[in-house]
Subunit: 144 residues, 4 copies
């Protein structure tokens, strides 16, 4: 399945006094792209939470190559690098769409917990979600 | 009871590319000062929420007089202008502590709802909170 | 000229522990819609700032009718209520697109200053911008 | 020189609908602690920027151990792990002050650029800052 890259413009309130997007906001862009990715493969994060499936962030990394400015368009390419039904890992490349140049790269890893913060097996509890996520795994060797 | 003004410094990530604190962040400062005010009069907002008492914002207004810059200290003076057990209203003055000069003024109004979004009477459900808030009402004629 | 309403979904990081969009974020949505409005009428805010035309917020008001949740779509209808070349005022209605129901309404007012924080006349300095903004004025009587 | 850990409470607007502090906000806490650290060793980041010394973030990493909730107090322990006059690296531990338990750990690395985005040597341009930062280097072997 071909994932359509997430894209939008940088907002004014996302800049800081360096006149660039504040470094923490790119990790928010990662989140936007991740939720969009999940929707594209048929996994609605909002519905999942309503069913008691929470997907907290275990760790997050971002490397800043070139800054985004107010109103600049960007796209986020995202890959599901690892998924075993208990954990998953995504990698991200935020790019300037015109040139393909990299703005920020990074990765996040996640686990699955229920409403009582207890880990659960996606395979047993949501077999259809499990199948979809397995199919969405990046064919590239996981390197992140 | 004398309320101690809330104060801290403006954070880097709160600035925008005008090199001043973004206008929406002052309304977040209002919230910080309001929660601090509630604590000072003996009403712990965190405990209240755990007991199912939610205090949503009904409206908010801010007027911008003079901008705050990164790392500048500010203080927030806050008054409880109205409180009748179903609704309440606060007014705020964000100031430069050295000169007393105004940075931002504003007000917010609030209601009280339970965990099912239903309004409730503070007087009946939390009589001690009611008494404390009544005592904390600003003696000044409510003008906002 | 017909303005296309601004729309997108609410982000996860825009929610708070009430499980609704935090009240200050709607005022950020106002800003997004305002910049989009300006672009639609041919006034690029980024270019204007590069030319030394800064448009700070003088005051902002929001009234909260019904909360937005994570991932919910919303649209922002925006009107330029007043513009005289020195000041301007916008009104906003954030709605649920399916039903047209109101989520948040509000208004902001603005002035025009140069890079030294000095007010300037849009009419004299940017006659084409002046003309476009005058044409974009809402035909409705200004009520906000 | 003994650095006093940075500490404050988590704000309401920093929570998300998981009822915990959103993961990106901890990286903002890193920034707050870093600026406080710099002030403690006599390097005022605001003054440095006014002199044209910008310190952008090159990369950032956070690992989430245990979540902070609204109004919870936290402290940030910070160490300057590396500094060579062109680059520097900090490590951070966000803790629950009562128990010392870890909430979040991480690190950031930074470079020094002038107002034209050109790297410069701190040793040549700001010898006193260079001396202070060298003295503030963590005695522990850099592990991050």
């Amino acid at each position: 399945m071909k994932i359509i890259p997430y894209h939008r413009r940088a907002n004014y309130y996302e800049t800081d006094q360096m006149s660039i997007v504040h470094h923490t906001n790119y990790i928010r862009y990662f989140e936007e792209a991740r939720i969009d990715f999940m929707r594209q493969i048929g996994c609605d994060c909002r519905k999942l939470e309503e069913l008691g499936a929470i997907i907290p962030v275990v760790d997050a990394y971002a490397r800043y190559h070139k800054s985004l400015h107010f109103d600049e368009e960007f796209q986020v390419d995202i890959q599901l690098e690892k998924f075993n039904g208990a954990r998953m890992e995504f990698s991200y490349q935020i790019r300037f769409p015109q040139t393909g140049e990299l703005a920020v790269t990074g990765h996040t890893s996640h686990c699955f917990v229920d409403e009582h913060q207890k880990p659960f097996s996606v395979k047993h509890r949501f077999p259809e979600i499990y199948r979809r996520m397995k199919s969405a795994l990046s064919p590239r060797p996981a390197t992140a």
